[in-house]
């Protein structure tokens, strides 16, 4: 179980402190898929980065299975079972898709093993395994490879920061399949997805709404989702930015 206790985070802009996360307390129990939504700039991505250790809170504490991980590095948290999929996947010159997946598993794996992770995010493994993770890959391809690295971690807690950002509609429906598959095999682990997408919200066990750096609402999907439907916090997929569906009815 992941627990945040009174977590606050500030940034300094032009000599002025600005609070991004203000005294957030929340729990993500094992075996749950939790979707965090809320307006842009509300602090969702920062919250994910605080959990992964990419940013450190100014106050408060973060616990994973009752162990205080607040002062642990990114590496230590990864080793304890936190995996993180970046909103904007990083490009590497020279590092191949296979290398990245091999590093993610933390062991020497075969090409066949690596291909399975790619296949599960809808990529034809043969075409990608030798590719460099560089700008020759499209945004959607990178995003799926990013998600494959998180699958390959097989972590206790997997965090996805806006997985739908920058991908096409076809990839998006694939993505839903991936998350549904993860949900089915969740066992004792848990998944946090940061998303505005109605279809992702609809597969959640729990929804947390973050506004102005604080928890505005939280509860089971059936309780929270109806109040979000039709707002910017639960966008139908035909309104995904950059996607042209040819269908204006939604």
């Amino acid at each position: 179980m992941l627990e945040l206790k009174n977590v606050s985070f500030k940034v300094n802009e032009d000599g002025q402190d600005r609070e991004i996360i203000g005294n957030i307390t929340l729990k993500v129990p094992d075996g749950r898929l939790v979707v965090i939504t809320g307006p842009n700039g509300g602090g969702k991505s920062t919250l994910a980065r605080l959990i992964a250790g990419i940013a450190k809170p100014d106050s408060g504490s973060i616990l994973l299975d009752d162990e205080d991980i607040t002062d642990m590095s990114i590496t230590e948290r990864a080793k304890r079972g936190i995996a993180f999929a970046f909103q904007q996947p990083v490009r590497f010159k020279g590092i191949q898709v296979f290398d990245l997946i091999r590093l993610a598993t933390g062991r020497d794996i075969s090409m066949t093993d690596a291909c399975q992770y790619l296949a599960s995010v809808g990529l034809c493994a043969r075409d990608y395994i030798d590719r460099e993770v560089n700008s020759s890959l499209s945004g959607g391809e990178l995003k799926r490879i990013e998600i494959a690295t998180v699958l390959a971690r097989g972590s206790k807690l997997s965090i996805f920061d806006e997985p739908e950002a920058g991908i096409d509609l076809w990839s998006f429906s694939n993505l839903i399949d991936v998350f549904e598959g993860m949900r089915r095999n969740i066992k004792g682990g848990s998944i946090i997805i940061i998303s505005h997408q109605e279809r992702i919200l609809s597969i959640a066990d729990e929804i947390i709404v973050i506004k102005n750096g604080a928890v505005a609402d939280q509860g089971p999907k059936d309780k929270i989702l109806p109040s979000l439907t039709g707002t910017a916090d639960a966008v139908p997929e035909c309104r995904m930015s950059g996607v042209r569906t040819g269908d204006d009815k939604c």
Partner: protein, 308 residues
């Protein structure tokens, strides 16, 4: 293998991936003299009279054969200049593996200057691999100054892979090429410098015939207090295409000077250069740390990939 000690064998493995006597034609030079040589029916290796180099003649039409000419130096204080000439016959298709490994545990500098000239006939294809490696804890420097000249006739193709990853203190590489119509030159240089090492690499490629093309790409990493200079000049004297690229990572107090140069003397010459120098991107390190690597391990993976 031959009369080589363990250090010499290790150097041979580093520079030429050789763990036994190679198949095909070869000459192994150790501490200033040849210790093993073989010619084949199609590839003749003839020592120069002064002992300082070889003439390698590859018959026209020779296919899928290789020539290995590695050099190892394990004695401190040797300074040599070796001249190797390669004559590659029409339509031949061969791989030439050169390379030099220096182990210097002494206090005097060890220096190997290899001057290689390639005369490539019409339609011939050459893949040339040259690796440089230094080891040993002595105060004496390990110095390598390779000079390469390539003369390509019509429709020939030369691919050169030059690698220097470790242990060479001082290197001044010059590469000169002249390309006739339809000839293609592809160069992939990979370089990493440490400590107070110094590496200069200069290219002048002249494309003199219609349809000639050159692609010269360097990827390098400068660490510690090391210094690198990459100076690549492409000259288009006909309707041709040329591309040169220098892509570098700097770390610690490393310094790099990239001097891409293009000279178009024909209105149909299409020449492009790209150069980028910067430190490892922070988000690359963070991504690999989220996969469980330490910061140092992440850096190592990023550099390994970059120089792959």
């Amino acid at each position: 293998m031959l009369e080589l000690d363990e250090i010499q064998k290790r150097l041979l493995a580093e520079v030429a991936d050789l763990h036994k006597v190679p198949e095909g034609a070869y000459n192994i030079r150790s501490n200033g003299g040849s210790v093993g040589r073989a010619s084949t029916e199609n590839i003749e290796i003839i020592p120069r009279e002064d002992g300082q180099g070889l003439t390698v003649r590859i018959k026209a039409g020779t296919k899928n054969e290789s020539v290995h000419i590695p050099v190892v130096m394990t004695k401190s204080g040797i300074k040599e200049t070796v001249y190797n000439d390669f004559y590659i016959g029409e339509d031949a298709d061969v791989t030439i593996v050169a390379g030099c490994g220096i182990d210097n545990c002494g206090t005097q500098d060890s220096q190997h200057d290899g001057i290689h000239r390639f005369f490539v006939e019409k339609g011939a294809k050459v893949k040339y691999v040259e690796k440089h490696y230094g080891s040993g804890n002595g105060a004496g420097k390990r110095i390598l100054n390779p000079g390469t000249e390539v003369y390509q006739k019509e429709d020939s193709r030369v691919e050169m892979e030059m690698v220097q990853i470790k242990g060479v203190d001082d290197t001044n590489r010059t590469t000169k090429a002249e390309l006739a119509a339809g000839a293609a030159l592809v160069v992939r240089e990979r370089l990493m410098t440490h400590n107070d090492q110094n590496a200069v690499s200069t290219y002048v490629v002249e494309m003199n015939g219609e349809g000639a093309s050159a692609d010269v790409v360097s990827r390098s990493v400068a660490r510690d207090n090391s210094y690198q200079k990459f100076d690549a000049k492409l000259v288009g004297n006909a309707a041709c295409s040329g591309h040169t690229e220098c892509d570098s990572i700097i770390m610690d107090k490393g310094r790099i000077l990239a001097v891409p140069g293009l000279e178009a003397n024909d209105v149909d010459a299409a020449l492009v250069h790209e150069a980028a120098i910067g430190k490892i991107a922070g988000d690359q390190i963070i991504k690999l740390m989220t996969l469980g690597l330490s910061e140092a391990e992440a850096e190592e993976q990023i550099i390994n990939g970059f120089l792959k």
